[in-house]
């Protein structure tokens, strides 16, 4: 046995995931398909947001969903009612989607529909404010939801999630009159961790803010497709 050797490699721990995420992104680009990674804590309203969004969005753009869930297909079943291609990804014990799971989901989607015919792929991640933030899936943009019932301090407690987001949707704002909640403090805490993100207040009950959200998506699709 020889003396120990130290090999400097300076490699990202998540290199394997990042490598697969890059491959996913190349595929999305080849299909001319914009991919959004939708993330939040459980119960912030991701699935309801998609239900409402897709009702309108599907009239203008061809859409599909990869639906991440830990143990059930309940969310996927809700979205399938909209008559769009939905692929459930059950993660089992994993509390986030990773690039391999999304690659598998994309292969299943390819069996349902030719992705060349799609404009946008919405990936609903597993409800969690910690793990999904570090695992790229090949998305073009990250969208984080934060419901006002979670408290003003969440951007400070889970800074990576909100730092990484391109758009932050403040959900359930119809509840504002009923809660002791300071939305300006929340916005200030968001700006503390992420000064670049777009922020939209939204309600799935009154539908307020959906015009801004739909407009944000439409602009991203059109810019991505160079239209």
């Amino acid at each position: 046995m020889h003396l120990p050797i130290s090999d400097k490699i300076e490699l990202n721990i998540l290199h394997q995931n990042s490598h697969q995420a890059e491959k996913n992104k190349v595929k999305f680009n080849n299909y001319n398909l914009l991919c959004l990674n939708i993330m939040s804590s459980p119960g912030a309203g991701k699935t309801r947001l998609l239900e409402i969004t897709l009702e309108d969005l599907s009239k203008k753009f061809h859409s599909a969903v990869l639906e991440g869930d830990m143990t059930t297909n309940l969310d996927a079943a809700r979205l399938e009612k909209l008559n769009i291609p939905v692929v459930p990804i059950t993660t089992g014990r994993a509390c986030h989607l990773d690039a391999n799971m999304v690659s598998g989901g994309l292969k299943l989607l390819e069996k349902k529909i030719n992705p060349d015919s799609l404009d946008i792929l919405l990936v609903e991640n597993v409800g969690n404010l910690v793990c999904p933030a570090e695992f790229e899936i090949g998305e073009h943009f990250k969208v984080a939801l934060l419901s006002i019932t979670e408290g003003e301090d969440k951007p400070l407690k889970y800074p990576i999630m909100f730092r990484e987001a391109d758009l932050i949707l403040i959900t359930k704002v119809d509840l504002l009159p009923h809660l002791n909640f300071d939305i300006n403090e929340l916005k200030s805490n968001i700006a503390s961790t992420n000064h670049k993100a777009d922020v939209i207040e939204i309600s799935s009950v009154t539908k307020s803010g959906f015009d801004l959200w739909q407009d944000w998506i439409s602009k991203k699709i059109l810019k991505f497709k160079n239209i």
């Binding site: 400097k8 490699i9 300076e10 570090e134 400070l156 700006a191």
Partner: protein
């Protein structure tokens, strides 16, 4: 428990590295990591997960070392470096500016691997 999936990625990367070196002739002693303070990783959890994952494998005798990299930001107003604190909303203490530029703390790196050749 994302440390489980991080450990999987880490082991795959070490295996990929070892294959290039002739894995059968290598004994890995230490895998030296650099983990930033502004990441979602709990170092102790990563070490415990790694130790459990490699039991009985070719990496059984190897150990993880972790160098913690401090979370450091740069004030966008006066360019001073500072250590952002959650209690202060990550703002710069000099100008009370929001955190914009991160200098360090986002590292998730395998810095080096110490090994012996048979």
């Amino acid at each position: 428990m994302h440390e489980v999936d991080m450990t999987k990625c880490l082991i795959l990367s070490v295996e990929e590295w070892a294959e290039k070196k002739n894995k059968k002739k290598i004994v890995v002693e230490k895998i030296n990591l650099k983990i930033g303070e502004f990441t979602c990783v709990e170092p102790i959890s990563l070490i415990n997960t790694f130790n459990a994952a490699v039991l009985g494998s070719w990496l059984d005798s190897s150990e993880i070392t972790i160098e913690t990299i401090p979370f450091e930001g740069k004030c966008s107003k006066c360019n001073r470096l500072y250590f952002p604190k959650k209690e202060n909303g990550y703002k710069s203490p000099c100008c009370n500016f929001n955190l914009e530029e991160i200098i360090s703390g986002r590292e998730l790196k395998i810095a080096s691997i110490d090994f012996k050749e048979n």
